[in-house]
Point group: C2
Chain length 683, copies 2
């Protein structure tokens, strides 16, 4: 197989520019694999978006459901607009920087950061919504879940977290099989259902066909403002079907050449599939008399006699039951594939979140170590953070997709709108320099498309904000603002430090005149001897060992042992009537410094290297505190002289096991060294 390891290259290629073209060659994706790898998020939203349309409309009772077609059509129009617009993005920005790059390049860092904040919050919501939808769908197979959906969802998120932390790496097939299974299952179900109803003229009533609905009195009249508001809410919730479309624009570099074109084709395929699924499900819902009610109780089912009925199977579950029969292969196949693709969609967020974090870290908006340390740190921290935030959400909302969807979508459309605005600017900018009339015409066409995209997504954003703000979108907006402010503060801090630490003309010439070595002695043993030997090897101008006396008997023993070693290093004893080590030692070093202001003091601290965290509690604590306090003195450096205890081997073995996968990656062992003379050749 030409492709190796999907998440691995997805995550690397999304950032991507560090890989040499030779390495890239191995991992390029044909469209048939790229579609499932990038599309699980977008496709999976078909599993809950139709539900949200139907159950929102149910607030107006049976009469409301009649409008599902119109809402689905509106969502479909927006989906076409977004897909067509994003085809422009992928062709113009094949580097895979995504909306963050488009916004930053064309609209400046504030716009970029806004997009990034929206995306970070949306990753959390993707996990929460996808897993919640999975749990809701799972109730069709496992009814015992009902009542503790939040706990099940949180549990699943923890499983995802553990999988991702342990670095389980899925192959392309891992994505391809369930994604195609889901597409095949749902499209077959739709086709077979439509065939039986329209061609065979069968009567296929959904389990809820005979139910009636009692809606909310606020919306029941279906006229005036209430009607507009209800339609807006249903439309906003239905727009959840568009989430995930932007994933392909992040993944362009991993497509086979011609990248832009292939990505654009895949995007069109994805759009077409999503659209047919959404349309098919809504059509079948209408044809089978399928109904849904708000799980939060603002509308509910009643039978013909008016008695309330408690029934909450999802649209996908009801259709599978109606078309294939309740315990049948088709039923389990569709419901099972839905579960798995929702789980996969959550998993892609676990990959995308740290990648975005790493890009933001590079630009100084998140702790820089997340970027420079490579993927690992960003990954573990990102995975932990994402899992905790998402688990908190599903617990707080008891895995109610309907409740969570009020927070979702806002972020996606903030990002869509800004990105399309950026693209419009992009074309305007390029049009200034372009003279070729053919190219100009193409650019103008693209600009019109992106402007339509901007208008469409902008209008949706306003509708979403207005119709959902009080229902929960305010939480998402607040989170985005919080993330934005935090990232700005981090960047401001880095900028301040950079100004403070900028090299001045004399900095390279501030050579201390002498180095005075001071060895901290607590015991006379191998670690101390090693510190003495290493310190002597550095040939400092002066060298002395210092021990703080906290117990006369102990001190006498130390002195006797020291003398017996016949070292050429004098041992000084500092009295400490209060059994404190750091204070007196610090004062001694301060004294050395003030007596010799042009010298630098180097303090050698023997350090025990151990294999278990609890051993760490038993050793080095005094050295650690001393080091922390010495760091605040000017002109003092601290040298740790490690002594590896036998137990340290455990840690080495453990580290080897844990990083085995990482070390096995091709090329990571290579070291290319350029010395100044030949550096220019290397670059």
């Amino acid at each position: 197989m030409p492709f190796v390891n999907a998440t691995d290259f997805v995550k690397r290629l999304l950032v991507g520019r560090k890989l040499s073209s030779a390495q890239l060659g191995e991992t390029l994706l044909p469209k048939r694999i790229a579609l499932p790898v990038f599309a699980s998020d977008a496709l999976s939203s078909v599993a809950y978006a139709p539900d949200e349309i139907l159950l929102t409309l149910s607030l107006a009772g049976l009469a409301g459901l009649a409008f599902s077609w119109e809402i689905a059509l509106a969502v479909g129009v927006i989906m076409v607009i977004v897909v067509v617009s994003y085809r422009q993005n992928v062709e113009a920005y094949p580097s895979g920087g995504g909306d963050y790059e488009v916004a930053t390049v064309n609209l400046g860092p504030t716009a970029g950061l806004t997009v990034a904040s929206a995306l970070l919050v949306d990753y959390v919501l993707t996990v929460a919504v996808s897993v919640s939808a999975g749990v809701q769908n799972a109730k069709a197979i496992f009814p015992f879940i009902a009542g503790s959906e939040g706990l099940w969802a949180a549990g699943l998120i923890l499983v995802l977290m553990a999988m991702n932390l342990r670095g389980v790496r899925e192959s392309g097939t891992f994505f391809a099989v369930p994604t195609y299974a889901f597409m095949a299952g749902v499209l077959t179900m739709i086709g077979w259902g439509l065939f039986r109803i329209l061609v065979l003229q069968e009567d296929l009533p959904a389990p809820t066909a005979d139910f009636s609905i009692v809606g909310s009195p606020d919306y029941e009249p279906l006229v005036g403002l209430a009607f507009v508001i209800l339609m807006a809410r249903a439309f906003s919730s239905g727009c959840a079907a568009l989430t995930g479309v932007e994933a392909i624009s992040n993944g362009v570099p991993s497509f086979k050449e011609p990248k832009g074109r292939n990505a654009a084709t895949t995007l069109a395929l994805l759009g077409a599939t999503s659209l047919s699924m959404l349309a098919g499900i809504i059509a079948l819902a209408n044809l089978t008399g399928l109904k849904l009610v708000d799980p939060d109780g603002h509308s509910h089912f009643v039978d013909q006699a008016g008695n309330p009925i408690d029934y909450h199977t999802t649209a996908m579950g009801q259709l599978a039951e109606t078309i294939f029969g309740a315990p049948s292969f088709g039923f389990y196949f569709v419901v099972g594939a839905t579960l798995i693709i929702l789980f996969l969609a959550a998993n892609t967020a676990f990959n995308g979140f740290p990648v975005l974090g790493s890009i933001l870290a590079k630009d100084g908006f998140l702790p820089r170590a997340l970027h420079t340390r490579g993927d690992r740190l960003a990954y573990s921290n990102g995975i932990l953070f994402l899992a905790m935030a998402a688990a908190g959400l599903v617990l707080a909302f008891n895995a109610s997709v309907t409740a969570l969807i009020q927070l979702y979508v806002v972020g996606v459309f903030v990002s869509f709108t800004i990105s399309q605005f950026g693209m419009t600017r992009h074309w305007t900018r390029h049009l200034k320099d372009e003279r070729d009339p053919v190219a100009r015409r193409r650019m103008q066409r693209s600009r019109v498309i992106n402007f339509m995209g901007l208008t469409g997504t902008g209008v949706v954003l306003v509708i979403v904000l207005v119709s959902k703000f009080l229902y929960g979108a305010y939480l998402a907006v607040a989170a985005m603002i919080g993330v934005f402010i935090l990232m700005r503060a981090i960047r401001a801090h880095y900028d301040k430090v950079a100004r403070e630490t900028a090299v001045g003309p004399m900095d390279a010439r501030l050579l201390p005149s002498r180095v005075r070595a001071v060895i901290m002695v607590q015991e006379v043993n191998k670690p101390t001897m090693r510190a003495v030997n290493f310190a002597r090897a550095t040939r400092a101008s002066s060298i002395e060992a210092v021990t703080v006396s906290i117990d006369d008997a102990e001190t006498r023993a130390i002195i006797a042992k020291w003398d017996s070693q016949e070292l050429e290093v004098p041992l000084k004893v500092i009295a400490s009537p209060y059994r404190e080590v750091t204070g007196p030692f610090l004062n001694y070093v301060k004294g050395l410094r003030s007596d010799n202001p042009r010298d630098v003091v180097c303090v050698y601290i023997p350090e025990y290297i151990v294999g278990h965290w609890w051993e760490q509690l038993l050793h080095n604590q005094t050295g650690l505190i001393l080091k922390t306090r010495l760091n605040f003195l000017q002109g003092v450096m601290v040298t740790s002289v490690p002594y590896q205890l036998a137990s340290s081997q455990y840690a080495i073995d453990r580290a080897k096991r844990n990083t085995a996968a990482a070390w096995r990656r091709p090329g990571s062992g290579q070291v290319r060294i350029g010395v100044p003379s030949d550096r220019t050749k290397e670059q």
Copy 2:
């Protein structure tokens, strides 16, 4: 005032031997101050021990209460035995090492460690029981506490914790006033009550005088085994009156000369006071018809018609109400003083626990840093641990003294018994060498006394264990065993490390031939320049700067900046295709080492010193991970070159504020330095 600061010297003098005699002179206690300082724990137990006797007896109904006199008498006898025995301890071991020292010296480290485990667990229970008793007593004044006693108690423990963590230092007066107030209040109440009843022949019925009691069917018959078990349980609970007696034996060094004699006198005073209070309260309870029932519901009050009554005021509260009248100065004085002394008793545990921890750390049974770092670390950690454990207990038992007392007392009597066994051994050992017949006779007398102490406390220990084991003592025993095993494991670890690191004959001669300096470069700025300058000052055999290239553009900028500085240090570039810094850097250092096995590599890492913890998250992370991994390489030392950012001043100022008290302590700023030639004079 000749004495300065009670907890300060209590804590220091309990460990004590590090203070010079000149300093000791200032802080010696006359008996009138020593009594309240050390006695609050022992005296405060009078506030709950009589209650526990009465309410345990109530399990057998009204008939059971008739035996309160006998139980009080038995407790009194044990108290006399313990006080007389401990007078031997204080005269024989005036160093103040307490039961741990007596057991370790005479019976070996295992016995010592058993005592220490028992004491550590008992400190936790002292806090839990004292605060709970305070809360139960407080209900007489603040009835709204009822129902959430556990939360109030936990809150009070957190207040105590905060006070102790912030280092609020009580003066001797702080102890003396409430302790004498409590003694005066309770003894006046007893005297006035007895006078009115016995001399004035007044009829003083307690609020519960007319109540009847429905006991537990298990104990109602008051014959056979049930009777024996009930008496044993009442006696065991009453023995809580003895807790705290050992405190004086820990405090001997802070008494005025003759220390032993003065401490013994104080002990006798304490015993007499406790005994009269206990006897007085039980006597008045009998004379006023005072009754108590088990708050956990195994017995309850009924009125004459048999209707249940909910009434839970403590004996102290009922007596104060009966003798002084309900809202009266005397009533509030007694109840208020009781509250305060219980709070003080809990506070003494906050002082004693870390002191014992520090002694155990010195002997290697707890992390050694708790000892060598002086009081501070042991204090903060000990206070936190004690508060958390005690708060957990009061929450778990809803501050029920009756429930907690089942866990208490075991530890005290384990410690009493082993200590008295140790004293018996002590005299036997000394008798072997003593020839003077007068001294021998005195020693033999002492041995008899301690043997009686051993027998008495041993019998009580068995009674307590048997009668309370299933009611909760098993928890205390399990905790002691757990603490014991943990401390043994820590000591075993230190012993193993000591064997591993013992200096061999060649260790002082393993001088590396050369030092190769490697400077880690991530940016070219002031911190890096400082690292370069410091490294150059050490005059290493070879010196080079190394940067890991994770981004071509960045690397090119670093190289350009480096060259512009015209340093004499070459900059090497290591390629890292996976944007990882530590791995490639580590491999480079490994390569240096294996190419030059007789040299030592010194890695210089520039470190940003910042003022806030969150800034730490934004800096140094790469260096930290690199250092951690370099530590596992043989022959590599790591030098941190700190660069103090402007914000580091915040941390310095904060540290100065926090340690201002510590620095103000006399003598801690003094540094006495002895160089090898004159060391012998110093010692």
